[in-house]
Symmetry: C5
Subunit: 384 residues, 5 copies
Amino acid sequence: MGVNEERPDKKTSGAARRKRRKAAQRHAPGTSPGTITVSASAQRPVIEAIAFGPGEYAKHQGLSPEAAHALVGTHPVVWINVTGLGDAKIIEQVGDLFRLHRLALEDAVHTHQRPKIEEYPDRLFIVFRAPEPPERGAAPAPEPGQVGTEQIAMFLGPGFVLTFQEGHADCFEPVRVRARGGKGRMRNQGPDYLAYALLDAATDAFFPVLDSMRDRIDAIEQDIHAHAPKDAIARIYEIRHDLANLRRAIWPLRDVLNALVRDPSTLIGPEARVFLRDCYDHTAQLMDLVEGCRDSTSGLMDLHLGMASARMNEVMKVLTVIATLFMPLTFIVGVYGMNFDRASPLNMPELGWSYGYLFALGLCAISTLILFIYFRRKGWLGGR
Amino acid sequence: MGVNEERPDKKTSGAARRKRRKAAQRHAPGTSPGTITVSASAQRPVIEAIAFGPGEYAKHQGLSPEAAHALVGTHPVVWINVTGLGDAKIIEQVGDLFRLHRLALEDAVHTHQRPKIEEYPDRLFIVFRAPEPPERGAAPAPEPGQVGTEQIAMFLGPGFVLTFQEGHADCFEPVRVRARGGKGRMRNQGPDYLAYALLDAATDAFFPVLDSMRDRIDAIEQDIHAHAPKDAIARIYEIRHDLANLRRAIWPLRDVLNALVRDPSTLIGPEARVFLRDCYDHTAQLMDLVEGCRDSTSGLMDLHLGMASARMNEVMKVLTVIATLFMPLTFIVGVYGMNFDRASPLNMPELGWSYGYLFALGLCAISTLILFIYFRRKGWLGGR
Amino acid sequence: MGVNEERPDKKTSGAARRKRRKAAQRHAPGTSPGTITVSASAQRPVIEAIAFGPGEYAKHQGLSPEAAHALVGTHPVVWINVTGLGDAKIIEQVGDLFRLHRLALEDAVHTHQRPKIEEYPDRLFIVFRAPEPPERGAAPAPEPGQVGTEQIAMFLGPGFVLTFQEGHADCFEPVRVRARGGKGRMRNQGPDYLAYALLDAATDAFFPVLDSMRDRIDAIEQDIHAHAPKDAIARIYEIRHDLANLRRAIWPLRDVLNALVRDPSTLIGPEARVFLRDCYDHTAQLMDLVEGCRDSTSGLMDLHLGMASARMNEVMKVLTVIATLFMPLTFIVGVYGMNFDRASPLNMPELGWSYGYLFALGLCAISTLILFIYFRRKGWLGGR
Amino acid sequence: MGVNEERPDKKTSGAARRKRRKAAQRHAPGTSPGTITVSASAQRPVIEAIAFGPGEYAKHQGLSPEAAHALVGTHPVVWINVTGLGDAKIIEQVGDLFRLHRLALEDAVHTHQRPKIEEYPDRLFIVFRAPEPPERGAAPAPEPGQVGTEQIAMFLGPGFVLTFQEGHADCFEPVRVRARGGKGRMRNQGPDYLAYALLDAATDAFFPVLDSMRDRIDAIEQDIHAHAPKDAIARIYEIRHDLANLRRAIWPLRDVLNALVRDPSTLIGPEARVFLRDCYDHTAQLMDLVEGCRDSTSGLMDLHLGMASARMNEVMKVLTVIATLFMPLTFIVGVYGMNFDRASPLNMPELGWSYGYLFALGLCAISTLILFIYFRRKGWLGGR
Amino acid sequence: MGVNEERPDKKTSGAARRKRRKAAQRHAPGTSPGTITVSASAQRPVIEAIAFGPGEYAKHQGLSPEAAHALVGTHPVVWINVTGLGDAKIIEQVGDLFRLHRLALEDAVHTHQRPKIEEYPDRLFIVFRAPEPPERGAAPAPEPGQVGTEQIAMFLGPGFVLTFQEGHADCFEPVRVRARGGKGRMRNQGPDYLAYALLDAATDAFFPVLDSMRDRIDAIEQDIHAHAPKDAIARIYEIRHDLANLRRAIWPLRDVLNALVRDPSTLIGPEARVFLRDCYDHTAQLMDLVEGCRDSTSGLMDLHLGMASARMNEVMKVLTVIATLFMPLTFIVGVYGMNFDRASPLNMPELGWSYGYLFALGLCAISTLILFIYFRRKGWLGGR
């Protein structure tokens, strides 16, 4: 049945979740702080760079750490993007060239960080999360347990933005397009605006995710109204789990953006600040959506349990009505099935009456009638 | 039945909600910030203006952006109202003429904002929400799922107030009447007072909405006391949903008004500030009402579940009492229906007794009596 | 039955609540701010004044607004009390004579305000709420749904205190007695002490109300222990409703008193401040009591549901035990009621046995015994 | 049964609670502030004093107010303890001699205060609560509803500490012993250290109370695992009630101690401050324990309800399985009990078959088997 | 069965918990503050020291207090570790030699403290908790109720770090290894870095504990999906208990680390501060994990109850369907089992019909068919 066919999927998604969690495992407790340990299953790092300015644009792919570092200063803004965290040596090389603090570099590699901002001399270190892109070829229908988030670590320094990603977060694609296209503000602004654009792209990418969450919630609501689906609770549980994931990604991001807007570091210009305030507003809206979804799920849970219990009550009433109607009847016909010796005139004289059978059937009818009236007055028949 | 007839309505309202949500959809993630994208289904913008001063009053309709901008300065206060957000070009023209920040203009057009206030040089940008007017010809009875809110974006500058609305929010009608009538304070005050008057009108428009929420809650309470309505939970769920909507509109409005009262921008005079404090008090009252309604809905849920479960228990008791009364009887008459060979004197001698039948019936009566006393002592009969 | 007799009362009280709410209805949305609109059902205003000082005391009743205003200055402290808010003209006259801000006057007349304090030049405007006095001839027993609150608006100015009340809040009677008696501090203090005394009287009047709430809670607890009353949930719901009302009246009063103690306006002297701090402590105690009652009601709900469900389980167990005991018996006697042709030796030879009847009864006894042991091991019989 | 024997106790404890509450009743609303009203049932005050210094120690009992006041100054530290609050005159005399504010004195006598601290010129007024000592001869086993708290009012002035207690709080005994013994710091410190010692003694006295709460919780947990006790919910409810009481006593005490540590009054020396910080830590630990217990009680409630419902489900399953097994059997044997005229060859030919009886029994066996397999596949038999 | 076998374990773990709690019992209330009382069951203290600097490293074991104190100053950093708190005299000796405040020393010995930080002149006193190491030989599978925490008291002074532990917390082993190995930063830093390293090691040790909590939660989730395990609630209850324990250890640790990062004491250098900020981030992550687990447990509870209730409903439906199908059948065959005198033509003529038997069976079939259709329309058969 459909219900049973969904179960394995859910288990699979649960198992996938667990596997993913294991992959993001921390280094062993007690390791010296600042140690860069990479997970065996991580992608090998690929370095690409986009360098642009008011009238200039250049794109480089497959760079070495040194080549990437050499680019800084050649254009007003250089964005170096490291995709894949599977080689500790290359990562360390990048860290040394760009003078990144070891603790920050360690956090960039361990992809289980909560969004945060840390100021280092001449460097701003921002960790944030973007929704995981749906896998290629995945069904377009919203599927439970599909909402993961991916860590992005961003270093903002004078003239450059350096980002580290686990995989290829396609939420940055529009930023690349805008930088290449040359339309809009981006070409004329500094690296602070680029940092904003990346943060904003990651933030905006959460909106469709939350819309699909809302669709899933609406679908469950409709199902609950139509019939009491057995898997409603499990589906609500999955949604809550996903919402908790999103919340964990978005809530601290608000603090990060608030810190960026308020705490005046010279790396962020006044103009970028206005845009960051707008991005902060977006996270507030996202949180409203997340909270709204959470509220809806608790409402749904109540709705489902209430509907299920109402259906249950109906079942019980039917049982009670039928059992109660037939029990006296069974008793009456049982009486006239007794084998008492008819020799004694006191022993079941009814059996000898000409209208005895009709009398017995009449007793049954009267008993049924009385109970029917009783139930009607109780209001148990209206509900059927 | 009534219950089933309500169901389709609810689905419709749910579908309407979803459609509305889709209409208010954001632009695609990654679009350049400040891009004005309009939804295809939005009304075409219509610009009207009211200009007034201590002794003067003029009303203009169907203005072009340029004509509207030219009005500023001709009277002490000019209120330009743009209804309908369906033409990006006109909106952009207005934005350029009035020197509005692109991010603010973008927010004015995307009608999913939460209430907020933003200060720009010489401009104050306020987004707030008013309750959606009930549709024409709608039944006067409170209907579930009818509570939506509409975004209003307001720019306050020297000598003018500029508002953008999705549709024609009739909550502004009294302000127009007061401006035209010339009674009261409005004519003698600056644009800050007009801004207050608009905010106050939107705030006050929530009171009747909350009164009708309260009526819906009272109606459910009465229904629950009278009979356990099957759709009580669904109706409570709808109310909660509506309350969440209202809360989302009112709660941030409080912060906006508080910011207006405290944060001293030169655009707001000291006199308007006193009035804004009063308006702030109104939002506090609104929140009290919303919270009160929320509390009531959880109370109602408990009440309903408790009543339903009490009714269920009663059903179960009746079943138990009747089943328990008749089971021994059925057994007794079953015994005397057995066909044992009466040749043996040990085999069912009762069947041969003269008073055998009465003996059997007596057994039944005694068994019933004993169980009756047992139930009475258990207190199960008092409850019927 | 008692339970059913309570129901109509409750509905009445609910209806009364609704009516009261309607009476306190706001003016139409969009009315010009500061408009004094009175409800048709409100009492006509009656003005009385008490003027006193260290050695002096005078009482005036049925004053005109002018006469009341003329009293100010004739004695160190003048307390003008306006009871009834049913005449907009008189209220406006009082407001003009005492130079009260129109917004404050509007709030004094609209009796749905939450407690608040507002500073105007040379005037302190305080709104607070006192418990509604129980109606005359009302039963002394605590009755559900009887807890309402009444708004009191107080203006404190140099040399006078001006209060507006809906009806005659008898919580002020002790203050009048103390002023007349001349004992205690009151005569020797300024209007700030009088304001304190009025606030304190209103605050203290909540203590007996909360004691009666607690009595109602205790009564429900006892009822739940004694028998599972059907109306327990409805009664708890009523208490919660009343507690929410009280909370709405007391919670903001705390903030008002805190503001009075901290925010130093010259209208409040240092000595009165010490007393106001004491009054603030009382509101803290009241909130503790309210919260305690709220906690108790949730506990009661759990207790009631738990007890009801325990009773339900017991009912189910009895049903199960009896049904399970008799079903095999009915089967056994059914077997020997079959009419198989005894010609075949294989067909029911038991019927021909000399001890066949005893054998059948023995089968019944053994089956009962086995099930009895089974139930005992399950522990289902201990619970009976 | 044990369960039923506990019920009256609980009622008694509830009644005791109510009586206690009545005894601590406030003076009538509207009484002049600062009025000392004593409850008729209160103990008559007994004044005792302990005076000590680095090498000196004196103890006085049964003092008059004047004699007690005269002691101040004769030794570095004088502790005057007034036990019993049943004589307004003596209390007022003490208050006048020691120059205590009337409001503070009133609070000292009304034993329903929440812990608080108030500064008066040259006097520090601290109200706190100690656990009520268990009654003499009370059973050592933890009993429900036994946790009350007792108010202690303390005035700290130069050279003296003055305490008012309802009864004889034996939590101060160790302080007396330490003062008499002369070991430890106490003799060499000022009255601020004595005040700390008293606060600390009262705070420490809560630890065993909370340990016994935890024991009660553990006992309930064990009972719930062993069998579903009927009174579990009532016991949890009692514990919650007691925890709320403790919380009310401990939570504001934290604020008092925090205020003492931070707010620098010259009456508290820097050394005592270090000790008060330690005492503050203890209240933090107490609150952790209280919160832990609260969490446990909600967990217990879930556990109990879950276990009860699991047991209920099991009962229902057994009923269903047995009813379902026997219903077809009863039908089958009913069929062959019909009295159709065997003259017609179509009427019940089975009755004439040689193996008819075995055939019928076989039908029964097959029906049982089929249902058995069905139940096994449903997994309903594994749970038994 | 497996379920029953787990029960004793749980009781044992509960008992172990209780015993552990007793062992950590406080000294008697009223004891003089600063008294060092040791529990009889505590390990005897063993003092070991590690002294190191840029190029030097020395390890000493089984030191006397004097010898340990003499080490301070011989190397840049000396770490003295006291394992076991079972001898008051040695502890006091250590305290006197290192000039530790008696209150701090008392807290170091009483192993029930919540994490805290206290500043004393020239000494920083930090209490924190590490997860208890699993007992040797314990099963590798996650077992309920195994999560305890162990107190570590740390004094940081110029040139030394002094730690007190109950047992041998092996979470410090990696720190020892790093100090001995000479790689990494540790050798070149002061005692502030060592203090950080110890705090970080304790913090990091919580990550695997929380991973195993998550595994336990996942295991329960899978079990709930597979079958409704009877002990699910008890297991969730245990997890909640463990989470509350962890929360109590981690939450105040955040405040401690925050205080260390912000509150500038000269004992902490700027470089260590950066590392402490990283450690603070780890506690934030831990709290996220704890809260995530807590959320999951409530979700699990809902899931389990929902699944159990869904299964229950299914059971009830089956019962209802079968009972309702067979009751009319039993009635019909009962009718034709009656013994009415066939002499009267009105008495059961059907018995004489040639097709009477088939007629009766037909009645049964029709009744079954009608009910079948009824159930199908109710949708009760789809759920099976």
